[in-house]
């Protein structure tokens, strides 16, 4: 997109070379106006199409804080937190195994990651759920013995399915983080007489966190959404409750909107948390920490008021 610069301007009127601020006529980006118009038109068409549908919008606020929905939100959050905990702990263990000099542990970690990343999580959930068909009992010799069907509750199925799958992804994220720290850091710590463990805890991991936190935030948000799959193995969470209400109340599509709205709210809250955690681990890596959104708002207000003073 090239636009001719204004060559007709009087050369006498051009600012003389010197410390005077440049006052040039900006380039007009006509292409931007056109593309903005097209985008707006498409958006309007989609909104119009939805306004023509027979959607009972009132049903969404009516059920928004329904007891069953709130229970569902709670269970979704619980499942997200617990699965991520399993995923993170498992991921750290796998990453350390994978990076260890022991070829056996390293190979086992490789195999685990290969298997759990290479199969769909929905298939894994069904496998956990239906293992009762091939194992009648669970028998942890001296500690515990029970029928498989009693042992493998929907919650445990969901946790194992989501958590073990997540561990494979977290392992790769942690490994990338540990590898991202410059080798000179390990050498400097060792040269000071620090042990391997201390070096890892005090020097490597805090720096690796900068690389680990952003993708882990994505994983948490992804996990929150993936929990909707576990309705397939009889665990009731937000999506399942919304579906149930939809069938009873005769407003199924509206209840899907409601569920979508709740997922959006939850993921938005999580993104804000992620921003602050990232900011914490950016200490020392940037000369000045980026301002928090609140500081940014305050900054803008200050600049407005100072502009008034100078004007």
């Amino acid at each position: 997109m090239t636009v001719d610069i204004d060559k007709t301007a009087d050369p006498q009127g051009a600012p003389p070379a010197g410390p005077q601020a440049i006052k040039a006529i900006p380039v007009r980006h006509y292409g931007r106006y056109v593309s903005a118009l097209i985008a707006l038109a498409i958006l309007a068409a989609i909104l119009y199409a939805f306004s023509q549908g027979k959607i009972n919008w009132q049903a969404v606020p009516d059920y928004f804080f329904d007891d069953r929905i709130m229970t569902g939100v709670g269970k979704t959050l619980l499942l997200t937190v617990l699965s991520m905990l399993i995923g993170i702990v498992g991921g750290i263990i796998l990453a350390v195994m994978r990076l260890s000099k022991n070829p056996v542990t390293s190979a086992i970690a490789w195999f685990y990651i290969w298997f759990f990343r290479g199969t769909p999580v929905l298939v894994q959930l069904f496998v956990w759920f239906n293992l009762g068909l091939v194992f009648e009992y669970i028998n942890l010799m001296p500690f515990y013995k029970d029928y498989w069907s009693n042992f493998m509750t929907p919650l445990l199925t969901a946790l194992l399915g989501l958590g073990l799958n997540e561990a494979a992804y977290m392992a790769e994220i942690c490994r990338a983080g540990l590898l991202s720290v410059d080798e000179g850091q390990t050498e400097a710590a060792h040269a000071l007489g620090m042990s391997h463990g201390k070096t890892l805890r005090r020097i490597i991991i805090p720096q690796a966190m900068r690389v680990i936190v952003p993708p882990t935030g994505n994983e948490v948000i992804n996990m929150l959404k993936t929990t909707s799959l576990v309705s397939a193995v009889q665990f009731s969470e937000l999506f399942r409750y919304a579906q149930d209400i939809g069938q009873i109340s005769g407003a199924p599509v509206e209840m899907y909107f409601l569920a979508a709205a709740w997922y959006l709210i939850l993921t938005s809250v999580l993104s804000v948390g992620q921003y602050y955690i990232e900011r914490y681990y950016a200490r020392g890596s940037t000369r000045n920490l980026p301002p928090t959104p609140w500081q940014r708002v305050k900054g803008h207000l200050m600049s407005f008021s100072s502009r008034k003073v100078t004007a």
Binding site: A191, G193, M194, Q207, R287
Partner: protein, 268 residues
């Protein structure tokens, strides 16, 4: 930086035991032999300079001294003790990581790329090892760290992160960090090579003060002026062997070997 470091008690030290002693040290990386039999001795209280072209093995040798690299053949002693191994009869036993770490406490090292811990402030960098390795309490370590930062002229930068410091300032913090462990030997791996020419002087001043305080120093450097002025001994290495050694003023002004002459003619 202007005030002198306190004189160390060098008289009490047994000067008959060399601080570093290398006997036929060999080191290979895979097929490449980097050190082909190094023999040398660093006396206590001495400033020992290693010069040579890049790839000559001088940095590798330095890293062998605190066992960051394992040697393949020969013997290397620090303060009379074997580096990385324990000898019983005629058998050598590899030291455990913990034992290696114990020995490294007594050897300070300063790197070309500083290698400060970027997630800690200057004073936290200096405190880290005394607190974590020696178990010193934090208040005491902080006080010590502040004294050390004062010595290297950076007391006013204590709260800054490494990314907020210039290269020369970072290197001086790195020297303070190494000194915090009260080492009896300091290793410098091209400490000024990554610095702007303007900032080299500040770092060399700190090293000069350190030398005057009686610290034993092994310095890999390209600063011939520093070697001539401060050095007590100098070794010219090339191709993994010691080509020439002696008093730095003599070697630098009147080199005997052709290789030394051609190297010095390019760098001086």
């Amino acid at each position: 930086m202007t005030d002198k470091l306190p004189q160390q008690d060098t008289a009490a030290r047994d000067t008959s035991v060399p601080m570093v002693k290398a006997e036929g040290v060999h080191k290979s990386f895979g097929q490449v032999e980097v050190l082909k039999g190094i023999d040398l001795e660093v006396k206590p209280g001495e400033v020992f300079c290693l010069i040579g072209p890049s790839g000559s093995g001088k940095s590798t040798f330095l890293r062998c001294i605190n066992h960051l690299e394992k040697i393949n053949a020969g013997r290397l002693y620090v303060d009379g003790e074997l580096v990385g191994y324990r000898q019983q009869g005629d058998k050598l036993y590899e030291l455990r990581d913990r034992e290696v770490a114990m020995k490294r406490r007594n050897i300070g090292m300063v790197f070309q790329r500083f290698n400060l811990f970027p997630h800690m402030t200057a004073v936290e960098n200096v405190m880290e090892a005394p607190v974590q390795v020696k178990g010193m309490n934090k208040a005491e370590a902080k006080e010590r760290a502040m004294q050390l930062l004062e010595r290297v002229g950076l007391a006013d930068r204590a709260g800054h992160y490494p990314s907020q410091l210039s290269g020369g300032q970072q290197q001086r913090v790195a020297i303070a960090r190494a000194l915090a462990m009260d080492p009896k030997l300091m290793l410098f791996d091209e400490p000024t090579s990554a610095l702007d020419p303007e900032l080299v002087g500040d770092v060399l001043d700190v090293m000069r003060d350190l030398a005057e305080s009686g610290m034993t120093m092994v310095v890999v450097t390209h600063e011939m002026g520093f070697a001539r002025e401060v050095g007590d001994s100098l070794v010219f290495m090339d191709g993994g062997v010691v080509v020439e050694s002696g008093n730095p003023r003599e070697v630098l002004t009147n080199p005997q070997h052709e290789r030394t002459k051609s190297f010095l003619s390019k760098v001086l």
